[in-house]
């Protein structure tokens, strides 16, 4: 159990770092979506199903969507 | 006696009505904030005698204190909510003529919600509820700064938003640590348990919370956003941001330091930060050629003065600080309102473009002069008794250090006088290049300015009108035990 959690945390942090280093904003947004998704699984392990649902539906889905819409309307690459 | 919660619920309900009213008539939407702030003013003034006698505590939802969200309407809370409503009323009248373009319905809704946020911060007795209302205040400010949608406004709003959001994240971490340490969110409950917890972690939480709130209160290293935001916003919003938003942020800092943490160790640090803020603000203001930036830097300086006075933590100095807070709200709001139409007529924010305004807009220029003199601290305006009180209370303390600090404070006042006199000289005694016809600001705008002028003069001549209330406010801030007792019984 603890191994699974540790791996998830590791993956979450890796995704966060990926969001930091990617020059391609779209990839960075997807990485941050992954952070939210993994966080919502961790919330489930922490016995917080309400928060997990909110994080998955708001944090991972809608936020990513509005990020992608914004990037469509602006610029995809960080200069 | 009505519950203080109506001060929040009714304006919030009215704010939600603005879009509905706006569907019927665009013009009528502008009167909703007027109605909301008028309602709040009447209720706050009505609550004041009761609050001065004994703080009014409302437990929302009908649960016992540490389990419900508590509203604490003590002297400070009611006074500040009356002040918010008063300034809100005058500025919303001003906006009736000043805000005529763009998405006006959204403006009026956001403006009403800004008032709700400010009132909520001063009335709440719960740490997390403070965060929520703080966010209402901040987010509506971010949006209103960018209202015009020009380049400067957007940039300033982004800068404000990023720094503000960083601040709120730190604030939220602090609140989370506080909950982890104390297991409660009620301010009085935390204050009562303060002695039972290891001080090290509490100190970290305190630093995080003060840093988070300090961004909005514009305490020295955290105020980089302020000059841009206050100068790029529409003038009615600059008046509210300078007159209400930063004061409310400062109130939150002070409430946290005095009541929740009871941190006497922080006070000397805050005295120095206040003085540093004062000096930096006034010197930067002196160097400006843009009138609104000058006023914005002057707000930073004044905030420093108020922090200085409050952090001395004696009854007299805190009274002086609160007095200065009221005085700054009235004077700075007046200055921004007057400058709003001067800038609108001259088409430029450069001080040099205000030449000849004394002839073109005599009443507006007069209002500007009253505000400037009051801010500098000249009698018979409200700035005089407040600054006098601060200096006297600081000198009453023993110690050479404090006397040196008072000397610096007076030097800063001289700088302040210098740059305001320079503007007044430009307005009255320099001939404009082109002689234009006399064209005053609209009557509604002049009326709202003269509401402030009358208050500044009347309170300046009769400071006793509010000084008793301010003194009981000061003792409310300083007496933690009383606060805890009146909430937890």
């Amino acid at each position: 159990m603890i191994i699974v959690v540790s791996l998830l945390v590791l993956a979450m942090l890796a995704a966060a770092v990926a969001a930091l280093v990617y020059r391609d904003l779209l990839s960075a947004v997807i990485a941050s979506c992954l952070v939210s998704l993994l966080a919502s699984i961790l919330f489930l392990f922490l016995q917080a199903p309400d928060v997990a649902m909110a994080e998955a539906s708001i944090g991972a889905a809608l936020v990513t969507a509005i990020f992608v819409i914004t990037i469509r309307r602006t610029k995809r690459y960080e200069e | 006696m009505v519950s203080p919660v109506v001060l929040l619920a009714v304006p919030l309900g009215l704010a939600l009505c603005v879009p509905l009213v706006g569907m019927a008539s665009r013009k009528a939407a502008g009167f909703v904030p007027v109605a909301a702030s008028l309602f709040n003013l009447v209720v706050s003034v009505g609550l004041l005698p009761d609050a001065l006698e004994e703080p009014i505590v409302a437990n929302l939802g009908g649960f016992a204190p540490p389990f419900a969200i508590t509203l604490f309407a003590g002297p400070v809370g009611v006074l500040l909510s009356a002040l918010v409503a008063l300034a809100g009323l005058a500025v919303s009248l001003y906006a009736l003529s000043y805000i005529s373009e763009g998405p006006t319905i959204r403006y009026h809704t956001l403006y009403t919600l800004l008032l709700v946020g400010a009132t909520g911060v001063v009335l709440t007795g719960d740490v997390f509820n403070l965060f929520v209302f703080f966010e209402i205040l901040c987010i509506s400010s971010y949006a209103l700064v960018a209202y015009v949608g020009d380049r400067a406004g957007t940039e300033a709003s982004i800068k404000y938003l990023i720094q503000g959001a960083l601040g709120s994240a730190l604030l939220l971490i602090g609140i989370g640590l506080l909950y982890g340490l104390f297991g409660t969110l009620n301010m009085a409950d935390i204050a009562a348990r303060m002695g039972s917890v290891d001080p090290g972690p509490v100190f970290v939480a305190m630093v995080l919370i003060i840093t988070g709130l300090g961004v909005e209160a514009a305490i020295f290293p955290l105020n980089a956003w302020l000059p841009d935001a206050h100068s790029s916003a529409p003038s009615s919003i600059s008046a509210m941001l300078s007159g209400i938003a930063i004061e409310v942020g400062l109130y939150a800092v002070v409430r946290m330091v005095f009541t929740v943490f009871g941190a006497s160790s922080m006070l000397m640090f805050l005295v120095f930060m206040g003085l540093l803020t004062l000096l930096v603000g006034e010197l930067c203001a002196f160097a400006q050629s843009n009138i609104k930036r000058m006023l914005a830097y002057s707000s930073i300086g004044q905030m420093g003065l108020i922090v200085f006075a409050l952090a001395l933590a004696t009854v007299h100095s805190v009274t002086g600080g609160l007095f200065q807070l009221v005085s700054h709200t009235l004077s700075k709001a007046l200055l921004f309102l007057a400058v709003g139409y001067m800038v609108y007529r001259s088409g430029s924010m450069e001080i040099s473009s205000l030449e000849g305004m004394g002839r073109r807009m005599p009443l507006t220029s007069f209002a500007f002069t009253v505000g400037a003199f009051s801010l500098v601290g000249l009698p018979p305006f409200i700035g005089f008794p407040s600054k006098f009180l601060i200096v006297r209370s600081a000198l009453a303390e023993q110690g050479v250090l404090l006397q040196v600090l008072v000397g610096l404070l007076l030097a800063a006042t001289v700088v302040e006088g210098a740059y305001f006199l320079r503007v007044i000289q430009t307005v009255y005694f320099k001939k404009g290049r082109q002689q234009e016809a006399r064209r005053e600001a609209p009557a509604v705008a002049l009326f709202s300015m003269f509401v402030f002028v009358v208050l500044i003069v009347v309170i300046g001549v009769y400071p006793n009108l509010i000084s008793n209330a301010l003194e009981s406010g000061a003792s409310e801030l300083l007496e933690r035990a009383d606060y805890v007792r009146s909430v937890l019984g």
Binding site: A48, D50, M53, A54, S57, I58, A61, L62, A65, I66, I69, T70 | S3, A9, L12, G13, L16, P19, M23, A58, N59, L60, G61, G62, F63, P66, F67, A68, I69, G102, P103, L110, L113, G120, N129, V132, E135, I136, I139, S140, Y142, A143, L144, A146, Y147, G149, T154, S157, L177, Y179, G180, L181, G183, T184, D198, G200, P201, V204, V207, L208
Partner: protein
């Protein structure tokens, strides 16, 4: 330079938080009010989901503030984007594929139903107004993606926002006048726990929140997609 300063700042904050967390051991039972809520939530509010009874019962005022924050942001977004004159369609969005269009026609009502289920059962199961509202908003997002030309009626969305917000405030004010004479007091009968019609005002408030959050988030998506030229 900036990196160095940033790292130093980060280190200071990190050490501070680590010190502070040292005082909060992970997994230890500790809070008084948390225990109180768990013990008495069913009797106080009638909701079996304790988180819901905290969100819409004990700390309902926070929630009122929170939907206001979202309202402020949606309005602010509209004001910021509308500042230079709105109008115009959405350029640069290609028509969607057949599968997406047909699938959406089939899925849209189901997603709406699912969202409504989530927010109307917030007092019994995990979920509630925010989650349900977000699901409803994602149904609208799907509509925007599948048929780019389609718009929700701005007037109707704004009316939904305002009216559902007003329901919340009015329910609160009713609590002030009826019942326990407290703002947001639970003045309706609490019913039998674990049934749909229980917990007094909680389902009413959560439905209002669901509609409000749904229309606001849909409004945010709509506002960002709209091409202002």
């Amino acid at each position: 330079m900036r990196l160095a300063v940033g790292l130093i700042l980060l280190a200071v904050i990190g050490v501070g938080i680590a010190v502070s967390l040292g005082g909060i051991p992970f997994g230890a039972p500790k809070t008084v009010i948390g225990d109180h809520y768990v013990d008495s939530a069913r009797d106080d509010t009638g909701a079996t989901n304790v988180v819901t009874s905290v969100v819409v019962g004990y700390r309902a005022f926070d929630t009122l503030g929170e939907v206001t924050v979202l309202f402020v942001a949606a309005l602010g977004l509209g004001a910021v984007l509308a500042a230079a004159g709105g109008g115009g369609g959405r350029s640069g969005v290609e028509p969607a594929s057949l599968i997406l269009r047909v699938g959406n026609a089939f899925l849209f009502p189901l997603i709406l139903l699912f969202g409504a289920y989530i927010f109307s059962h917030g007092h019994l199961t995990p979920g509630g107004g925010f989650q349900g509202g977000a699901i409803i908003a994602s149904a609208f997002l799907l509509v925007y993606l599948s048929s780019p030309g389609k718009r929700i009626s701005a007037t109707r969305a704004r009316a939904t926002e305002s009216l559902s917000g007003l329901v919340f405030v009015v329910v609160g004010l009713l609590g002030l006048t009826l019942g326990a004479h407290n703002f947001l007091a639970n003045f309706l009968p609490k019913g039998v726990p674990n049934t749909l019609f229980s917990a007094g005002i909680i389902p009413v408030v959560y439905c209002a929140i669901g509609l409000k959050v749904g229309s606001e988030l849909a409004g945010v998506v709509d506002g960002l997609m709209e091409e202002t030229g």
